[in-house]
């Protein structure tokens, strides 16, 4: 990697580290405990950023899938793939932190409302994306198929959300989240979102670079020895 590349990487890493430390401090020490839910509510400051990042990750996969099918630049496919991997990790975290928060606060692990169901379907769709790429017979095919799924799967997200929303309005919802955040809470949330976004960018870049290098190695291996 070029010197300039490493410089950016280091800057990003430093920034991410600083933001994450700040976020951890704010979540555990700075922000006051919420009245109704108690300490467990602090998961919210991890849950929301992670959920936002997972949507961002799949949006990035969507965009780079289109770009890859259009121009066939291998690096763009690497970014799409890496972003989907990180997205699945983050979606898994959403699906784990959500119930951990919900059980003490709402009394239930899970409910089939629009946001939860859409997150679950999103997780399933992108796990399928990763599976197809692993099970592809050649990397080039995996890239093409992945790009197709990255596009088709993302388009589904608003449709699933709207459908489940409509489905749920027919059942009374026991969940009410009061809007409006006090300013220390809002600040904590924003710092946490920034920290996790930088983490996402770092992980995706690292993963994408790895994939490009793996592809290069694969190519070099295939060149016959003289």
């Amino acid at each position: 990697m070029s010197g300039k590349h490493t410089l950016w990487n280091n800057v990003l890493f430093g920034l991410g580290l600083a933001l994450m430390i700040a976020a951890l401090y704010m979540v555990f020490l700075y922000v006051p405990t919420e009245k109704h839910s108690g300490i467990v509510q602090r998961i919210f400051y991890f849950h929301v950023p992670v959920a936002w990042v997972s949507f961002l990750a799949f949006f990035v996969t969507f965009i780079f899938s289109i770009l890859y099918l259009w121009k066939r630049v291998m690096k763009w496919d690497a970014i799409a793939h890496a972003s989907a991997e990180v997205g699945v990790i983050f979606t898994t975290l959403v699906l784990i932190t959500g119930p951990i928060w919900a059980k003490p606060v709402w009394g239930i692990w899970w409910t089939w409302d629009a946001r939860l169901t859409t997150s679950l379907v999103l997780w399933l769709t992108y796990v399928a994306y990763l599976l197809v790429r692993s099970y592809a017979t050649e990397p080039a095919r995996g890239a093409r198929f992945g790009a197709v799924i990255g596009i088709v799967g993302f388009i589904d997200v608003p449709i699933v959300f709207m459908t489940v929303n409509l489905w749920r309005t027919q059942h009374p919802s026991a969940i009410v989240f009061e809007g409006g955040l006090a300013s220390p809470m809002l600040a904590t949330l924003l710092v946490s979102i920034a920290a996790f976004t930088v983490l996402y960018v770092l992980l995706t870049i690292q993963s994408a670079n790895l994939k490009v290098m793996e592809a290069d190695i694969g190519y070099l291996r295939s060149v016959p020895e003289e």
């Binding site: 099918l69 169901t117 379907v121 399933l124 769709t125 796990v127 399928a128 599976l131 197809v132 099970y135 592809a136 017979t137 095919r141 093409r144 198929f145 790009a147 197709v148 799924i149 596009i151 088709v152 799967g153 388009i155 589904d156 449709i159 699933v160 709207m162 459908t163 489940v164 409509l166 489905w167 027919q170």
Partner: protein, 223 residues
């Protein structure tokens, strides 16, 4: 019109193959019927249970039967390099998609035409339900649009048939939800009410996915 003729040629080829072998339809019919029967045992015999679970049972049977069938759509082309033969035809790839789509849509309708009356009889529901026919036609179109596209992807992976349900089911969740919700009032004999809203969702899904799949199919069938 030439495009339509080409689509129909591909479709006719599949119909002829199926008529001669009767492979797909027979197996899927029996499977779907078994799903209905097994679900009946799964849910027990409490009174009033039928109205609650009947729509779900019908759509689970049609969905899983559909997945089985969509697998076969491209698997038959894998044998004897028929797929390469198809790709050699001087037509747009999307024509191949539409030819296969018409075939899988017809197949789904054929299965539904047999399964639904049997299902209605087993659950003691009225047999003449034109609204149900409309729901089935629209939902089958959505299933076929997604299933045909993903079948072409799935059979080209090492996991082959097993990959299709994993790909297909999450994406068609809106169709399943809307179809079940639309079917419930129809089976109970209630007036239109919400049914139109759910049908609109299925129609929107169908249109979006038919367009997207048509645009994207050429990338699936390269080489």
């Amino acid at each position: 019109m030439k495009v339509l003729a080409r689509i129909l040629v591909i479709f006719w080829k599949d119909i002829l193959t199926e008529l001669r072998t009767k492979e797909i339809v027979t197996l899927v019919l029996v499977f779907a019927l078994l799903v209905v029967v097994i679900f009946n045992f799964a849910f027990g015999t409490r009174t009033g249970i039928e109205e609650l679970v009947a729509p779900g049972i019908l759509w689970v049977a049609l969905t899983f039967g559909g997945v089985l069938g969509f697998n076969r759509v491209f698997v038959v082309e894998k044998e004897n390099s028929c797929l390469e033969g198809l790709m050699l035809c001087p037509v747009d790839r999307s024509v191949i998609y539409w030819g296969k789509l018409v075939g899988s849509f017809t197949f789904m309708l054929a299965v539904a035409v047999v399964i639904t009356p049997i299902f209605l009889v087993l659950f003691n529901l009225p047999l003449f339900l034109p609204r149900l026919a409309l729901i089935i036609v629209l939902a089958a179109l959505g299933f076929a649009a997604v299933g045909t596209l993903f079948s072409a992807i799935a059979i080209n992976t090492r996991a082959r048939d097993m990959m299709l349900p994993i790909l297909f089911l999450p994406v068609v969740v809106p169709v399943i939800v809307a179809a079940v919700k639309a079917t419930a009032p129809v089976l109970a004999g209630r007036p239109w009410g919400d049914v139109l809203t759910w049908l609109q969702i299925i129609i929107v899904f169908d249109v979006i996915y038919l367009v997207v799949a048509t645009m994207v199919f050429e990338f699936v069938l390269e080489e």
